[in-house]
């Protein structure tokens, strides 16, 4: 039977209970963290699906449940038609997982030795493994340094090797948890292109990608789900999500001396629909995103309010709405990173 969906999550719930004290006096605290709160999600076969949310939103917990590393408190999930609770072995055989960071490889082994080892763990027949390892090293541009210890690799090379390891057994589904986190822009770009063009379009793999980089999700994904505080708040294509906020432009300003009084005045302007303020402040400067009607006609008035209130304006630009704008509008929170 042809499956329409490669990943289906139904009412998944996971609550972590904090622990206090050291062994043997460790005890569970009454403090809990709801990582996933009745999450429903479906990823179509062959789709590149993005899970977008801030740190601590529940993205990694969801990936770990789908990869059978965490058992949910309630609900269930199917990966390639296999239940993560009842058939974890079949799920593991049909997925490839790449996590953020570089520690998922053995640094004191060479790239080739790492791949040879994981080929055995993934039960790839020896002949097939030799061919695949050679192909993947070449595909990743690592063949010249295949016999060097991984500890001598850069972060980007290690991430490429981690991707090679994840697709060694040619899985149908890939779970990529923040695969470009901490990489420099050129490596990030090449990894994004590889995931989208080679793995998704050419090889037809179903990919669930978690990220808190809005551009990454916007550029790469067929559909995106926003997750915040363990709940899915919206699912659709990036274009449809951006259309949800109902305006074509956003006024982005970097200002200083911003306080709540000024923001209240700005929000009170009749043409302002919403206002997002970034968490990060550098040298007293704050980025403000104003969601407003008819930017051209109203820009002077906005500038006037900031100036009168003693705010210095460092930059001002009119932009197209991004996924972050949608996220801000839906949750009232700003994506970090």
């Amino acid at each position: 039977m042809m499956l329409e969906y490669s990943v289906v999550a139904k009412r998944l719930r996971k609550v972590y209970r904090k622990e206090e004290g050291g062994f043997p006096f460790r005890r569970k605290s009454s403090e809990t963290i709801v990582a996933l709160d009745d999450v429903d999600l479906s990823v179509k076969k062959g789709e590149l699906f993005g899970l977008l949310g801030p740190n601590g939103a529940g993205k990694t917990t969801l990936v770990k449940i789908l990869s059978t590393i965490i058992i949910p408190d309630a609900g269930t999930a199917l990966v390639n038609g296999h239940d993560v609770l009842k058939e974890p072995g079949k799920v593991r055989a049909s997925i490839g997982v790449v996590s953020s960071g570089e520690r998922s490889l053995y640094w004191r082994l060479t790239a080739r030795e790492n791949l040879e080892y994981f080929a055995r763990l993934y039960k790839v027949p020896d002949g097939v493994a030799r061919r695949r390892i050679s192909e993947l090293l070449s595909l990743m541009g690592l063949e010249d340094r295949a016999d060097e210890l991984v500890e001598k690799y850069s972060g980007g090379m290690r991430q490429k090797l981690a991707i090679a390891r994840a697709i060694l057994h040619d899985p149908e589904v890939l779970l990529l948890d923040e695969p470009t986190l901490g990489l420099d822009p050129s490596f990030s770009r090449s990894i994004r292109v590889f995931i989208r063009e080679e793995l998704n379009r050419k090889q037809g793999k179903t990919i669930l990608l978690t990220t808190h980089y809005m551009d990454e999700a916007d550029q790469m994904c067929d559909r995106v789900a926003f997750i915040n505080k363990g709940r899915i708040v919206a699912v659709d294509s990036p274009e449809k999500l951006k259309a949800m906020i109902g305006m074509n432009e956003v006024l982005k300003m970097v200002v200083s001396n911003l306080d709540e009084k000024v923001l209240t005045m700005v929000r009170g302007l009749p043409f302002i629909e919403d206002c997002g303020v970034a968490n990060a402040e550098q040298d007293g400067r704050t980025m403000v995103r104003l969601y407003m009607k008819n930017v051209d006609a109203n820009i002077q008035e906005v500038v006037g309010v900031f100036s009168k209130a003693g705010c210095r304006i460092f930059s001002l630009s009119i932009e197209k709405p991004t996924l972050e704008d949608v996220f801000v509008k839906l949750t009232g929170e700003v994506l970090d990173g």
């Binding site: 062994f23 998922s104 030795e113 763990l121 993934y122």
Partner: protein, 289 residues
């Protein structure tokens, strides 16, 4: 999990590959390889020196009364060589998954579709190979330095007894591995078990010493000692290798008992590990420090 012949071969390959990986990583730290091959001689030497000081030579008549053989030097060399396997099972297999956790690779190997026991068996296999190498170097060096005298014709039987002991010890390693994955603080637990085994097992003294020292209670202390596979193994190996050694335990009984505890520890280790692994996944703490 379905286990036909083909999938068993693949599981075995995963185990052997895990052992190969562990050995390769160990060999990439050559100074540690030299350390573990040579240092145990320095730990053994003070016992030999102390023995010489106490009895005025390498043979002791009072030792003969307790052990049947007066050659306490060979007795101690055998003891310390076998004790190396205890350290390997505790600090190697017991800590193996915790090391993967520290390195950040535990989740990656647990996501693989092969059995967890194949990975653990592979780790135990590499520990056995490396420890056998270290024990062989240690025995050879100690023999050259202090003059060990063994019945070489019985080496095969002695090695068979050691193999049985290794399996039982790795059952204990499996139990500890599960407990450490669960409680994440291995230092105190491993040191306690290690010290307990070293104290109550006859590594450096004949088992009858316990009776001599503790009187009537000595029998019960000996019973505690026998719980650990090292004791029956030491009794059997010394009976095979040490001329005129008089074991406290009958060799046939010691070996049968060793086979039985091997089964018990391995079964217990596998059961406990399965329960703990599920519990850790439920707690969401596989990669937790």
């Amino acid at each position: 999990m379905k286990l036909d012949a083909a999938s068993m071969v693949l599981e075995l390959k995963a185990a052997v590959s895990t052992a190969r990986k562990e050995i390769l990583i160990n060999l990439r730290y050559p100074l540690w390889v030299v350390f573990w091959a040579i240092m145990p001689i320095f730990w053994l030497a003070p016992f030999v020196f102390q023995g010489h000081a106490l009895v005025g030579g390498r043979f002791s008549e009072s030792f003969r009364e307790l052990a049947g053989s007066s050659d306490y030097v060979t007795f101690t060399i055998i003891g310390s060589s076998l004790y190396a396997y205890v350290m390997s099972a505790l600090w190697g297999t017991g800590l193996s998954l915790r090391r993967e956790q520290w390195g950040g690779t535990l989740e990656t190997i647990l996501i693989a579709p092969c059995s967890r026991f194949s990975i653990l068996f592979g780790k135990a296999l590499s520990d056995s190979v490396l420890t056998s190498f270290y024990a062989a170097v240690q025995f050879t060096l100690a023999s050259l330095l202090f003059g060990a005298r063994i019945r070489v014709e019985n080496l095969f039987f002695a090695v068979s007894a050691v193999l049985l002991m290794i399996l039982a010890l790795y059952g204990i390693g499996l139990i500890l591995s599960g407990l450490i994955l669960m409680y994440r603080e291995p230092g105190a637990l491993l040191n306690f078990v290690d010290t307990l085994i070293y104290t109550v097992c006859p590594v450096n003294y004949p088992l009858r010493t316990l009776m001599l020292f503790f009187g009537g209670v000595g029998y019960y202390v000996a019973m505690v000692s026998i719980v650990f596979p090292l004791t029956p193994a030491l009794e059997a190996v010394r009976a095979f290798l040490l001329p005129s050694f008089n074991p406290y335990l009958n060799v046939a009984i010691a070996l049968s008992y060793l086979a039985a505890v091997t089964l018990v520890f391995l079964t217990l280790g596998m059961l406990l590990f399965s329960v703990v692994e599920k519990k850790v996944r439920r707690r969401g703490a596989v990669e937790a420090y």
